[in-house]
């Protein structure tokens, strides 16, 4: 099995291997095989399209967790310019599972905050696999309040397996840290746009996820408990995770129907990791459009809209 492809993508992987082999032959032989390559490429694209047009909720969970899926730090330099990372919660430490700082979105100063899972093993460990502790949420809060003071819109990129379930996390009040962010974000008097770029898991995701506009990438997921966790509780076995994913409706299409998610940003064929630049471009243009809309509304009105929207959840 090709580790760069998910289980349901293996037929695509096989075609891609063939294409690669033909390309190698092509480069040191005279035989004209470009026609053959072209056909295979078309076939591969069609197959990808076919597979991706029929993904189950659980398949999408896998795409959202794909090891090659772009993370916050892959997007920041592609979407923004002038990023200056700001560190620390000023109380306890700096949580590397949350990255934040000032940047420019097509010239306009913004505060960008995102969860970062980390790519290489060492990086993953340093970033606690994207599982923030209280100091991460408190750093985010500090940066958001600073953004409010300096009239910078806040953009958050959500991608976490959840807030860290550990002794230290509980000792330093992870519940309070998340709750505080929910409360303050509900009234932060600057536009707040949230984008789920990968895995939005529970309170740990929501802790930087309250705002005026919530978008999800097409193959990202957002859930109240991981499908494995849900399956463990209800079915007493994590093997039922696919059923749990289906039942909970963890994808943007379901969540948009429920009125929780405002927009879905389409991903390149085969997922964001197949073309990070293009994905970043799409996120950027979505952010710019939404920000323009929000900036056109007087702040009081924007805040009232945000509040009413929060109040409407579930109605």
């Amino acid at each position: 099995m090709n580790p760069n492809y998910l289980d349901f993508e293996q037929p695509i992987a096989e075609l891609e291997v063939k294409i690669e082999e033909l390309q190698l032959v092509g480069s040191d032989a005279d035989i004209n095989i470009s026609e053959e390559i072209r056909t295979l490429r078309e076939k591969s694209a069609k197959l990808t399209e076919k597979i991706y047009s029929n993904l189950s909720a659980w398949d999408i969970v896998k795409v959202a967790r794909h090891p090659q899926r772009p993370y916050t730090l892959d997007y920041i330099p592609r979407i923004f310019t002038d990023f200056d990372e700001l560190h620390g919660d000023r109380h306890f430490g700096d949580d590397r599972a949350i990255v934040g700082g000032t940047a420019r979105l097509q010239g306009r100063p913004v505060m960008v905050i995102g969860q970062e899972k980390g790519r290489a093993v060492k990086d993953k460990v340093m970033r606690n696999f994207g599982m923030p502790k209280p100091e991460g949420y408190r750093k985010a809060l500090r940066l958001m309040q600073m953004a409010e003071r300096f009239r910078m819109p806040v953009i958050t990129l959500i991608d976490t397996p959840g807030a860290y379930p550990g002794i230290d996390s509980e000792e330093r009040g992870i519940s309070e840290a998340i709750a505080q962010n929910l409360a303050v974000m509900s009234r932060l008097s600057t536009p707040v746009i949230c984008v789920v770029i990968g895995e939005g898991s529970s309170g740990g995701a929501l802790g930087i996820g309250v705002g005026d506009h919530l978008a999800m990438l097409q193959y990202s997921t957002y859930f109240v408990i991981s499908p494995e966790g849900c399956a463990n509780i209800i079915w007493k076995s994590s093997e039922h995770a696919p059923d749990a994913a289906q039942a909970m409706g963890v994808t943007s299409s379901v969540l948009q129907d429920l009125g929780i998610v405002d927009a879905t940003i389409p991903e390149p064929m085969g997922g964001a990791h197949r073309d990070v630049d293009r994905m970043a471009e799409r996120i950027q243009s979505h952010l710019v459009t939404q920000l323009e809309k929000l900036s056109a509304i007087p702040t009081d009105q924007m805040l009232e809209q945000r509040y009413q929207r929060l109040m409407s959840y579930g109605n």
């Binding site: 807030a163 860290y164 379930p165 550990g166 002794i167 996390s169 509980e170 000792e171 330093r172 009040g173 992870i174 519940s175 309070e176 998340i178 709750a179 505080q180 929910l182 409360a183 303050v184 509900s186 009234r187 529970s202 309170g203 929501l206 802790g207 996820g209 309250v210 957002y222 859930f223 109240v224 408990i225 966790g229 849900c230 509780i233 209800i234 079915w235 039922h240 059923d243 749990a244 039942a247 909970m248 409706g249 963890v250 379901v254 969540l255 429920l258 929780i260 509040y307 929060l310 109040m311 959840y313 579930g314 109605n315």
Partner: protein, 318 residues
């Protein structure tokens, strides 16, 4: 062998004979110290074990009953019902689980709201019914809490919440998660408007309820030995692969780590909150608790009564 054992058919004889030594109804065994307690005594003591002081879990109605003044209570927002927006189905349909829980508890969902008075001070009070789906928060709980908070905001009267919950309700998926944002948002409005919100943590509080409304109180209070945390102990143990320290996530742990303001005995809850609220409202010293005539002769309550003779509010000019 006693005469009754002799006349019983052998199959029934020894099976659970020990347990049945506590007959249902008049007697109750303390789950902690196993003392056999006379139920009327227990009830007079607010369902706190008179022997070991263990605070037993009590339902939402009982909670409100022992907390609010006898007169002038009114249950509010009774029309809110749970909605199965996702048509959630696991081994059972969520709809069926709901009807079952409704039948068992007689409640529509896991939160009861009342307006009433505490030592004469008007307030809005909500309590979680843990027996209903583990007190989990879905739409109905979030909505009722929010409306109760909005009422408190409109009338500028305090909001008190007794929480007991396993967290967000899985079967309503992201709608449940968003109730965290919703309840936190309305509480922030209370905060901005200077309307006091007191959160009382009762055993147990976890997950989405812990990470939203339960820890956002102006004053956070816990009952003794209540467990509260974000992640359940099992999840933490699985993650860190080590045993958790003794007392982890208990009230005393929360107090030590600064998450709560105080631990308050159930017998003292009325007096303590009344005393605090009166100061928050800037009103004169609160009268002694009078609604629960049963607890008049209770010594713990007497002490609290004396402590209720407190300072008058400061001059606000400085």
């Amino acid at each position: 062998m006693s005469w009754i054992d002799k006349i019983l058919p052998s199959g029934v004889r020894r099976e659970g004979a020990k347990r049945s030594s506590v007959p249902e109804g008049l007697w109750k065994k303390c789950v902690k110290c196993e003392a056999v307690l006379y139920r009327p005594d227990l009830e007079r003591n607010d369902d706190v074990c008179p022997k070991c002081d263990h605070h037993m879990r009590i339902g939402a109605r009982r909670r409100l009953d022992i907390f609010l003044d006898r007169d002038g209570r009114e249950e509010i927002f009774t029309d809110i019902e749970p909605v199965d927006r996702l048509k959630f189905k696991d081994k059972k349909r969520y709809r069926d689980r709901l009807s079952q829980a409704q039948k068992e508890t007689g409640e529509k969902d896991a939160l009861i709201a009342m307006r009433g008075t505490l030592a004469g001070q008007p307030l809005v009070c909500v309590a979680f019914e843990f027996a209903f789906h583990g007190g989990s928060m879905g739409y109905a709980v979030g909505e009722k809490f929010t409306r109760a908070a909005q009422l408190a905001l409109r009338e500028q009267i305090p909001l008190v919440c007794f929480s007991a919950s396993g967290g967000a309700r899985m079967q309503e998926a992201l709608i449940s998660l968003m109730q965290m944002a919703k309840t936190s948002a309305v509480l922030e409005r209370l905060k901005q408007a200077g309307v006091p919100y007191f959160s009382v943590l009762t055993d147990p509080i976890y997950g989405g309820v812990s990470a939203s409304l339960a820890l956002l109180g102006d004053v956070n209070i816990a009952e003794p030995d209540a467990r509260a945390g974000f992640a359940g102990p099992n999840i933490i143990e699985q993650t860190i692969r080590q045993k958790l320290p003794k007392g982890f996530q208990r009230s005393e742990f929360l107090l030590e780590h600064g998450a709560i303001d105080m631990i308050v005995h159930r017998n003292d809850m009325r007096d303590t909150i009344a005393r605090l609220l009166a100061k928050f409202a800037g009103t004169p010293v609160v009268e002694r608790s009078d609604s629960d005539s049963d607890s008049e002769d209770d010594s713990a309550s007497d002490e609290a009564g004396e402590a209720a003779v407190d300072y008058l509010p400061d001059d606000r000019d400085d």
